[in-house]
C-alpha cells in the first residue's frame, strides 16, 4: 500500500503566521508526492485542531501525519496521542516539524521564514515515510524515595513523602540534620527564630517511622533508572553507637579542641562533639581524621598524638599506658630513640617539630614503675612457651607482647644482665642502668622468664629448644660483631673496636684508654665511644669520618653534645694505615676526601684526593664503622637460611624464617639498626608467633599500619612557641663522670611542649572518652559501612555554600578581625553561638574572644554576587538578611547603634519583604545606594568603609567597628561529583540545572531525580520549602502511578554487527551499556538508555543505532532539506 501522508500546519495564533505564509506552505505540501491532504489551522493543538487530524486520518485513510507547528518539546505528545486515537502507531506515523522556534521566531522577513518553513516541512515529509513502529516499555515504580541532604529542603521533602506512608531515606553528610537554616538566628521578614520553626522539622524527621535517617552518610553511587534506582550509601564511621544518650560526659573528658564547623570557626568544640544542642540525632560523633604522620612514621606505631595530648592535660600515667600498648621500653627509648617521627611532625610547617622522644621519656619518668599496675591478662596454659634468643630491645619487646597475650616467653641471653645493646652498647650517661632495670623488672612482672648467662649455640642448639617444650622461637641475638677497617696494623695494641670498647666499659671491665684517641666512623657508636673515651680520661679525642657532616648517621643532638664536650670531628677523612711504634699505636695515617656522585644509599660517595695524606698522632684508635651479625648461635641448627649480608633471612612482614616456628627480628634480621626498629620487630614477631601458635595464616588479618594524609588543618594564625630545649648538665660537670647528661624536661616544659601538638588526626584516640561513657556507646574501631538501598525516586537537596570572601582582598576578610561573613554573624546572633546570642566585636588579638557590642556597623551587600569576577547571579537573599541584620543590631546593641547598608539595588520581592524594608529603614538604618569598594583598618581596629552613595552623587567614608559581608550563595565545591553521581546537569552558574525554569523547576534531565532548595540556585527559605514540597509531589506522583513508561526512542546495538570494542561503554553518560562477555558484544539496558546517541555517533562498526533516529531517517531528512 502506498503511503498517504496528511500535512497539518498551525498558525499558532500569529506566532507562526506573522512571518510564515502558512497557506503557502500548506499549498506547497499538497503538491508533495504522497501527500493526500494538506491543511492549515489557527491552533492545531486545540481540541478542534486535534479532531481535525483524527478526522482527516479517517477520511483520507492516512498512513502518515506531519504536523508543522511549535517545538516538539511543547506538543509532540499531544499530536502523538491524536494519531494514536486515530488508530495509527504514533512513532511510525507521526512526525513533527518545528516552524515556530526554528522558523518564525528566528527569521527576519516573511519570505525567509516561508522559505525556511517549506524546506523543513519538506525534510519532515521525506522523513516520515521512513519511520517504523515503536512501542514504549513500562516498568513498575518502587514507592520509596531517597532524599539527599538534610537541610530544610530535604527535611521538608522527606516529611511530605513520609506523610503519604511511603518510605524515605534521608541521607545527610553532617552528623546532624538542619542545614544552613538551623545555623541562622532569625528569619526574615517575620523574625521568628530559625530554631523555633526548624527544630520541629528536625525532631519529626528523627522520629517519623517512615523516615530512615542516615546522618554522617554520603551517597556513593547511583544506578538504575526512574522507579528503580539502586543507591549505595556510605555510612561514615561515627565512632559512637546509637545507644548514645547525648549526655556530653565524653566531650567533657576529651582533650582535643577543634574549630566548630557548625559555628563557622567562631568557637571550638571537642573531637567528640555534637554540632549544637538541638542536633538530630542527639548522638555524639568523633571527628577522626587520618592518623597523625608521627603515628604513621613510628616503627612501633606508638599513638604519639595520643600520649602527647595526655601529657598536655597532665594525665601522665594514661600517657604511659598508651605508649606501652605499643612499646615496653619508654624510658630507655625516650632517651636513645632517633625519633623518625619528629621529622614528619607537621608542627614544623609553623615553626619546629615537637620534641616527641623526650616527651615519651617524660611520661616514663613521671611514673613510679614499681607500683605501675599490670594489665589484666588472661593467662594461657603453661605449655604455651616461647623461647627468645637475646634480651635486647627486640627480644624484650617480643616477650612483653607475648606475655601480655598470656603466653609464657623465656628469654635466653649470654650476658650477665638483660638489656642487650641498650645496656651494653649505650653509655650510662645517656641511659642510666636504673631506667632500663625498672622497665625490665616490669617486663618480668608480666611473667617473662629471663635466663641470663645462657649461651644458645653448638651446645644447646636452637632446634633443640622445641624439644625442651618451647613451641616457637624468636631469634633476636643482635649484631654484636664489629666490622674491621681492613687497614695496615689494625690489630696493633691500642686499637679496639668501638662496640667492644663500649661493651667492656658497660661490663665494668678495665679498659685502658689512651691520652690521644682517634675514633673512626660517624655513627652513634663512634660518638658514644668518643664521649666514653673522654670520660675515661683521654685528653684529646678526635673523630674522623669519611663523608661530610650531613651524612653522619649519628643522632644530631649527640654529635652536638660531643662537640660541646670538646671532641673534634675531622670530616672527609679516610684512615689508610695505623702507625705503630713498638707495636703500640702511634698515629693514624689518613687521606682527605672530596664528595663525588651519590652512591646507592643516596649519600655522596667520598673520593680520595691524591697526595692529601696526613698523619694524626694518637695512642688509641677506636674503629666504629659498623657491626654485623654473629651467627654463632645458629651453630648446630640446620635449615635457617641466611642472607648474603650474613643476616638471618626472614619474611619482612611476618618475621618468619625459613624454618617453621622460628622467627627472627631486630639487628639479627635487619643488620645493625636502631632500638625502635628492634622493638617494632619484636612487636610484629609477637603477632606472628601468636598466629603461629593459634594455627592462623601469619600474613592475614595483621593490624595494618595507618596511612592517609587527610589531616586537620593547621591554623594560619598559629602563634609560634619555641621547641623545648632539653636541660643538660654543664660540660664541666659531666665529662669526668657518668651522670646522665640530659636531665629531662620539667613538667611545665613538657606540658608546654605537648601543647604545641597541632592534633593532626583530630581525635587522638587517647580513649579518655571511652572511660566516661556510661552507655558504653563509644567504639573507636568502628568502620565505614556501605549500604545499598532501593528507591523509585530521588530528591537532590544538597544545598549551597556561602562564598569565602577572603579572595576579595579589598574587604580584608580574614585580615581584619571585625569583618564578619553573614554566617558568622548569624552564629553570633544565635543563642547557641559563641556569644550566646550577643552581638559582640571580636577581640583584636584572640579571634575566639568577643568583647563588646559595636557602636557602628556596616553591612555590605552583593559580596561576590552580581560580580563578573566571582558570581554574575544575584544571590537573592542578601538584601533581606542584610536588613534583618540591621534590625537585629538596632534591637540587640541599642537603637543608637549606627548601621549602614551598602547596597546596589534593594530586591525585596517577597510577601512582607517590602514592609520589612520600610520598618527597618524607619529604625534609622542608613541605606547607602552603592557597592562598598574597600575596607581599611586603623591601629585601633576601626574600619573605614568607602563607597559612593550614588543617590547623592557623593563619596562616603564611614568609620565603623564591625563590618558584615553579605556573601554570595555558591554551589557546593563537590557539585560536579554529585552531578555525575546522579546524572543531572549543571548550569552556567554552577548550580544544578532544572529541566525548565518555569514549567519543570524541580525536574532534572534524569527521570525520577528531582531538585529542591539551594542546590538548584540561590533562594530563601520560603522558596526552598515550596520547591521541596514540589519535588515531593513529583515523587509521590511517580509512586502513585505505580509504573512508568519509558519512551522507545533509545539506542540498541545490533548483536550481529557489534565487534565488542566497548568504545560505547565509556561514552555512555548514563552507564546504560553493559558488555556481555560471553557473547563478546555490548548490550544496551533499555530502561536506563536516554537515547542521546553518543554510542551511535561513535560506534566504529555502525552497530549502535538510535531507534527513531536511524541513518535512513536522518538522510531522508537531509535530502529533504537539500532538495532544490
Amino acid at each position: 500500500m502506498s503511503e498517504r501522508i496528511g500535512f497539518f500546519i498551525c498558525h499558532c495564533g500569529i506566532n507562526i503566521a506573522y512571518r510564515v505564509r502558512v497557506a503557502e506552505v500548506a499549498a506547497y505540501a499538497a503538491t508533495f508526492p504522497g501527500v493526500a491532504v494538506s491543511r492549515d489551522y489557527l491552533f492545531m493543538c486545540s481540541d478542534p485542531g486535534q479532531d481535525l487530524i483524527e478526522k482527516e486520518v479517517k477520511n483520507h485513510d492516512l498512513t502518515r501525519v506531519v504536523v508543522a507547528s511549535c517545538s516538539p518539546r511543547m506538543h509532540e505528545n499531544t499530536f502523538r496521542a491524536a494519531c494514536q486515537r486515530a488508530g495509527l502507531n504514533p512513532y511510525r506515523a507521526f512526525h513533527m516539524v518545528c516552524v515556530r522556534e526554528h522558523g518564525s521566531w528566528v527569521t527576519e522577513s516573511e519570505d525567509e521564514a516561508t522559505a525556511k518553513a517549506i524546506a523543513i516541512v519538506r525534510a519532515g515529509l521525506m522523513r516520515v515515510t521512513n519511520q517504523s513502529a515503536l512501542t514504549p516499555s513500562r516498568f513498575s515504580v518502587n514507592p520509596n524515595t531517597l532524599v539527599v541532604g538534610g537541610g530544610i529542603a530535604g527535611m521538608e521533602a522527606a516529611l511530605n513523602i513520609a506523610k503519604s506512608g511511603n518510605k524515605v531515606y534521608l541521607v545527610e553528610r553532617q552528623p546532624t540534620v538542619g542545614g544552613h537554616m538551623l545555623q541562622y538566628d532569625k528569619t526574615f521578614p517575620t523574625l521568628d527564630c530559625a530554631a523555633c520553626i526548624g527544630t520541629p522539622k528536625m525532631v519529626a524527621v528523627g522520629q517519623d517511622k517512615n523516615v530512615h535517617l542516615m546522618t554522617n552518610a554520603e551517597v556513593e553511587s547511583v544506578s538504575g533508572f526512574v522507579g528503580n534506582f539502586k543507591v549505595t550509601v556510605n555510612q561514615h564511621a561515627r565512632y559512637v553507637k546509637s545507644n548514645c544518650t547525648g549526655c556530653g560526659d565524653c566531650a567533657k573528658a576529651c582533650p582535643i579542641e577543634a574549630p566548630n564547623e557548625w559555628d563557622v570557626q567562631t568557637k571550638t568544640r571537642k573531637a567528640i562533639y555534637i554540632s549544637f544542642p538541638q542536633a538530630v540525632p542527639v548522638r555524639y560523633a568523633i571527628d577522626k581524621k587520618d592518623r597523625a604522620p608521627c603515628v604513621q612514621t613510628c616503627p612501633a606505631g606508638i599513638n604519639i598524638q595520643g600520649f602527647v595530648t595526655l601529657i598536655r592535660v597532665g594525665k601522665y600515667r594514661e600517657a604511659l599506658n598508651l605508649i606501652m600498648e605499643k612499646m615496653p621500653l619508654p624510658g630507655s627509648l625516650g632517651r636513645v630513640c632517633p625519633a623518625p617521627c619528629e621529622g614528619k611532625c607537621r608542627r614544623q610547617e609553623a615553626d619546629a617539630p615537637l620534641l616527641i622522644s623526650k616527651l615519651k621519656r617524660f611520661a616514663a619518668d613521671m611514673v613510679d614503675w614499681s607500683t605501675l599496675p599490670l594489665p589484666e591478662i588472661e593467662k594461657k596454659p603453661e605449655s604455651e612457651k616461647v623461647a627468645i634468643l637475646g634480651a635486647g630491645p627486640a627480644g624484650l619487646s617480643a616477650a612483653y607482647f607475648l606475655a601480655r597475650k598470656g603466653y609464657h616467653p623465656t628469654i635466653f641471653d649470654k650476658s650477665p644482665q638483660a638489656g642487650g645493646v641498650l645496656r651494653y652498647g649505650i653509655p650510662d650517661y645517656r641511659l642510666p642502668p636504673a631506667v632500663l632495670d625498672q622497665e625490665i623488672d616490669y617486663i618480668k612482672r608480666l611473667g617473662v622468664d629471663i635466663q641470663l648467662g645462657v649461651t644458645i649455640g653448638r651446645e644447646r642448639p636452637v632446634g633443640g629448644l622445641f624439644d625442651e617444650g618451647f613451641r616457637a622461637v624468636f631469634l633476636a641475638a643482635g649484631a654484636p660483631k664489629n666490622i674491621r677497617l681492613n687497614i695496615e696494623n689494625e690489630d696493633a695494641e691500642g686499637v679496639i673496636a668501638g662496640i667492644d670498647y663500649l661493651n667492656f666499659l658497660n661490663l665494668r671491665m678495665d679498659v685502658k684508654t689512651g691520652q690521644k684517641v682517634v675514633i673512626v666512623g660517624g655513627g652513634d657508636v663512634a660518638i658514644d665511644a668518643s664521649r666514653e673515651a673522654l670520660r675515661q680520661g683521654a685528653s684529646e679525642v678526635k673523630i674522623v669520618y669519611r663523608r661530610s657532616r650531613s651524612e653522619m648517621p649519628a643522632v644530631k643532638s649527640e654529635i652536638l653534645a660531643a662537640e660541646e664536650e670538646g671532641i673534634k670531628i675531622e670530616l672527609l677523612v679516610t684512615p689508610v694505615a695505623v702507625l705503630t711504634e713498638g707495636g703500640k699505636v702511634a698515629g693514624l695515617r689518613c687521606l682527605r676526601n672530596e664528595l663525588g656522585e651519590p652512591d646507592q644509599s643516596g649519600r655522596r660517595r667520598p673520593v680520595p684526593v691524591a697526595g692529601s695524606e696526613f698523619t694524626i698522632e694518637c695512642d688509641m684508635i677506636i674503629p666504629a664503622i659498623g657491626q654485623q651479625v654473629s651467627s654463632k648461635f645458629l651453630e648446630g641448627t640446620e635449615g635457617i637460611a641466611m642472607t648474603r649480608r650474613g643476616t638471618v633471612a626472614a619474611d619482612p612482614v611476618t618475621y618468619q624464617t625459613s624454618a617453621p616456628g622460628i622467627f627472627a627480628g631486630g639487628d639479627v634480621f635487619t643488620g645493625p639498626s636502631n632500638a625502635v626498629q628492634a622493638v617494632a620487630a619484636g612487636q610484629q614477631a609477637a603477632v606472628s608467633i601468636e598466629k603461629y601458635l593459634q594455627g592462623e595464616e601469619l600474613a592475614e588479618k595483621r593490624p595494618g599500619r595507618p596511612t592517609g594524609t587527610n589531616w586537620k588543618g593547621i591554623p594560619k594564625d598559629l602563634k609560634p612557641i619555641a621547641r623545648a630545649k632539653m636541660p643538660v648538665l654543664p660540660v664541666a660537670q659531666r665529662i669526668h663522670n657518668y651522670n646522665e647528661v640530659e636531665l629531662g624536661l620539667s613538667e611545665e616544659q613538657a606540658r608546654t611542649e605537648a601543647s604545641r601538638c597541632v592534633a593532626c588526626g583530630s581525635c587522638c584516640e587517647c580513649k579518655l572518652c571511652v572511660g566516661q561513657c556510661k552507655a558504653g556507646a563509644i567504639d573507636h574501631e568502628m568502620k565505614d559501612v556501605k549500604e545499598t538501598i532501593e528507591v523509585g525516586s530521588i530528591i537532590v537537596a544538597t544545598g549551597f555554600d556561602p562564598m569565602n570572601p577572603a579572595k576579595m582582598t579589598q574587604y580584608g576578610y580574614g585580615k581584619y578581625r571585625n569583618v564578619f561573613t553573614n554566617i558568622e554573624f548569624e552564629r553570633l546572633s544565635n543563642a547557641t553561638g559563641p556569644t550566646s546570642g550577643k552581638l559582640l566585636k571580636r577581640d583584636m588579638k584572640d579571634p575566639l574572644k568577643f568583647t563588646e557590642a559595636p557602636k557602628s556597623v556596616a553591612i555590605l551587600h552583593c559580596i561576590g554576587s552580581r560580580d563578573k569576577n566571582y558570581h554574575e547571579y544575584c544571590s537573592r537573599t542578601c538584601c533581606m538578611y542584610g536588613l534583618k541584620y540591621a534590625h537585629l543590631l538596632k534591637d540587640k546593641c541599642g537603637h543608637d547603634t549606627e548601621v549602614y547598608n551598602f547596597y546596589i539595588d534593594m530586591r525585596c520581592f517577597g510577601k512582607g519583604y517590602e514592609e520589612f524594608y520600610k520598618k527597618v529603614q524607619s529604625e534609622g538604618v542608613k541605606m547607602i545606594r552603592g557597592k562598598a569598594g574597600s575596607i581599611t583598618e586603623d591601629r585601633n581596629g576601626i574600619l573605614t568603609v568607602k563607597g559612593e552613595d550614588t543617590l547623592s552623587n557623593r563619596l562616603i567614608e564611614v568609620k565603623v567597628e564591625m563590618v558584615i559581608l553579605c556573601t554570595a550563595m555558591e554551589p557546593r565545591p563537590d557539585a560536579q561529583d554529585v552531578m555525575r553521581k546522579f546524572g543531572i546537569g549543571i548550569g552556567q552558574d554552577g548550580f544544578f540545572q532544572e529541566e525548565h525554569p518555569k514549567l519543570a523547576p524541580v525536574s532534572t534531565p534524569t527521570n525520577g531525580i528531582f531538585l529542591a532548595g539551594g542546590c538548584q540556585g540561590p533562594k530563601d527559605i520560603p522558596d526552598t520549602v515550596a520547591q521541596a514540597k514540589g519535588a515531593a509531589a513529583e515523587c509521590l506522583a511517580l509512586s502513585s502511578a505505580g509504573e512508568v513508561e519509558i519512551p522507545p526512542m533509545i539506542s540498541y546495538i545490533d548483536p550481529d554487527i557489534c565487534v565488542g570494542c566497548q568504545l560505547c561503554l565509556g561514552l555512555c553518560a548514563y552507564s546504560a551499556i553493559e558488555f556481555n562477555a560471553n557473547a563478546g558484544i555490548s548490550v544496551v539496558n533499555s530502561a536506563v538508555c536516554k537515547g542521546c546517541g553518543s554510542c551511535s555517533g561513535a560506534c566504529p562498526s555502525g552497530a549502535a543505532k538510535v531507534r527513531h533516529f536511524t541513518d535512513k531517517q536522518i538522510f531522508a531528512e537531509i535530502d529533504g532539506l537539500l532538495l532544490n
Binding site: 552580581r866 539595588d905 529603614q921 550614588t950 543617590l951 547623592s952 552623587n953 557623593r954 563619596l955
Partner: protein
Amino acid sequence: MIPNAQVRICKGKIVKKNNINPDLYGEVERLGARDMEACMQCGNCASACPLSTGENTFPRKIYRYLQLGLKDKLLESPEPWLCYYCGECNIDCPRGAEPAETMMAARRWLTTEYDWTGLARRFYLSEKWEFGALGAVSLFVILLFTFFHGPVITDRVAVNSFAPVMWVEIGDLTMAAILSFFLLSNAFRMYRLVMNGTKVPLHLYVTEGRTFVQHFLTQRRWGQCGEDKSRWLKHLVLVSGYLTMMTLVIVFIRWFQVDDSSWHFSAIFGYYATAVLLIVTVEMFRSRIEKQEKIHRFSHPSDWLFLTLLFFTTLTGIIMHLVRLIGWPMGTYVIYVIHLAIAVPMLVVEVPFGKWSHLFYRPLAVFLTTVKEKAQRKSEVDPAVLLKETGETFQSCMQCGACAGICPQGEVVSYSPRKIIRNIAMGTSSNVSVDDASWTCATCNSCVEQCPRGIGILDLIKSVRRQIVDAGNLPGYFKAPVKSLKDNANPWGGQKASRLDWVGNAKLPEYAREHEYCLFTCCATAFDTSAGKSNQTAGIAFLRLLEHAGVSYGTLGNRESCCGDMADKIGTAGLASDLAAKNTEMFLEAGVSKILTTSPHCLNSFRKNYEGLKNIAAVHSTELLDQLVREGRIKPANRLDLKVTYHDPCYLGRHLSIYDAPRRILKSIPGVTLFEMQNDRERSFCCGGGGGGPWKDSSGGESLGEIRIREALDTGAGIIATACPYCMRTLNESIAKLGVANRIKVCDVAELLLRSVDPSDK
C-alpha cells in the same frame, strides 16, 4: 523616540526639561567610550578611584549620564578632567567594564563641546578634517615662506636673513594670540557650563587662583592617582620641556633663532627641552605600542597623531640644528620650513581644538571644583532635631523620587525633595543642597500625596526652614512680611486698624453671639490690592451673597490677626503660634461657634493648626455657598454664557479635600460650561502662591502661575475660577506677565455666582 533635550534658561541656571539625549552615548562612543550597557551603577569604581572625593565622584556618574543621555549633566561635569586614568576603577568592576577609557572619551567629547567653533568636533570625528586642517596650515606655512622669505644666502647659513627673526617673532606672537583667544574663549564656555549658575563669592576666585597655577605647572593631582608615580613624573618632565620650548620660541626667539654658533645661555634650555621632548615622546610611543600600562591599552587616533606631530617637530628641530651647525645653508632653510610646517599646524590644531587643550581645561576644572567646594557651607539642619519634630517616617524614604517627579517646581527649576531628604538622612547636607533648596517649595502638598512611604515631606520642609530661621538665616525677602506680621498682624504691611477698609460700603456687621457665622477675613483679602483689587472684589461678592441669602453672620474685624499660615510655612514657628494664640483667644472670647473664611489658607490653619479651636467648626465660603444653593437660599437665575475652568487651590484641594463644592456652585449657574484643565482636583497644578510665594524672588524665568494659565487657556475657557486669595493674586500676576488679559480672566467662584443671582452687579 524620545525627543531631544529642551534647555531653557531660568534665573541664570540651565533648566532642563525632558533632558534625555539618546544620541549622547553614540557621540561619546565614537570617541572611545566603552561598556555603557555593562554598568549597573554600583559605584564600586568611584570608591576604588584614588581621586574621587566628596561630591565629585566618578567614573560611575559619567556612565549614568551616558546611559541616560543626560547631555546637560555631562556638560556641567568637571569630573572627566579630574581623572588621570590609573585604571584602578576596572579592577574590581563587577561587570568588567572599562570606566577609565570612558572617562578618556568623555574628555574628548567635552573638548568638542567646549569649542564654540565646532572645529574640535570635526577634527576629533573626521580624519579628513583633521588631516585636511593640518595640511592646510602646513601648506600655508610653506607658501608663506615660498613667497615671503628673506634673501637666500647660500655661502653661509643665515636663517635670520631667510626668515628675519623680527617677522618670525611677530608671527609667533600673532599665532599665540589667536590660539590663546580660541583656547580662552573655549575655557570660558567651560567655566560657564561647570559653574552653571552656582553662586560663589568673588573673593574665592582670587584666593583660589593659586590652585590653577599650581595645577597648571605641577599637575600635582596626577601624583595622587594610583600607585605608580612614574606616569606623573614622565608627564611633568614633558611639560617642563614643552613649556621651556614654548617660552624660548615665543619670548626668546631672538636668542633662540641664531645664525652663527654663538653661545647664549638660553641654549641650555633649548637642549634640555629638546632632549626631554624627544625622550619622552619616544617613551610614550613605546608604552602605547606595548600596551603595558592601563592607560595605553586603548589608543584613539588622536593620541597617535598628537605624539607623532610632537615627535616630528622635535626631530626636525634637531636636524635643523645639526644642519645649521654643519653649515649647509640650503638644507637649513628647507628643514626650517619643514620644521615650521609641522610645528605650526600641530599648535594650531591641537592646542585649542585637540588633545593639547587639556593643558588649560584640567587646571581649570580643578580650580572650579575647589572654588565650588570652598563656597559650600555646612547646613543649619540637624537631623536629630528633624527626627524629633517630624518623627521617623522620613528615615524610611526609599529614594524612589516620586516626590521630585510630581513636584510642580520641577517644571521651572532644579528642585527635588528626594535630594533634600537624602542629604539629611546621610548627614551630608550643605547650605546649597538643603538650606537654599528648601525655600523653593510652595507647600502645595503634591509630594506628600504622592509619597509611597507616606512621608510628611511638608513637615520636613517646615522643620528645615524653622532650623534655618532659628539660626538667623531668614531669607531677606521674608524680612518685611515677618516684620509686618509682628507689628500689624498681617504680612502685607497694612495697618491693623484698616483691616476692614476693604469692605467699602458693603455690609459686614460686627459679630454677635447670636450670629451663626463669624466671618474671618484673610489678610490677602484685606490688604493685597494687586491686580485691580481683585481680592476685594471677590470678598465683597461673597458678602453680597451672604446678605442675599440672609445668612446670620458678623465679623470681629480689627481684632483679627493673620491666621499664621505663612509664618508657619516659612519656619517662623514662634510667630505662627503667637498669631494662633491671639486668634484663638479672640474667637473663644467672642463665643464664636462657626468660623467662616474665604481663604483656604486660613481654613487650613483653623482646622489643623489651632489646637484651641477643636470644638469650633471652620467653614469655607464655597462650602457655605454650595449649601445655600442646594438649600435654595441662593438661586442662580441669570444665564451667563461663560466658558469657565476651575483652578483647585492647593490648600482647599490637596490640603483639605474640598473639590466638589466649588464645582457644584459653578455648575449651578445657568450657561456656565465648566472645563477641566489637564491637571485638576488632586493633581491640580500649584500656582506657586503658597509657603510665602508672593514674597519670594521671582526674577526671570517662567513661573508656575504662567504654566497654570497656559493650561487654562488650553481648555478654551475665558474665565479661570478659583476660591483662594493667593491663587487670585498669583494667577492675575501670571496673566499680566503672559499678556493674555484679553483672553482669560480670574474670578472668584463667589463673583460668578453673584453675577447669576444679581444682574445689577455685573
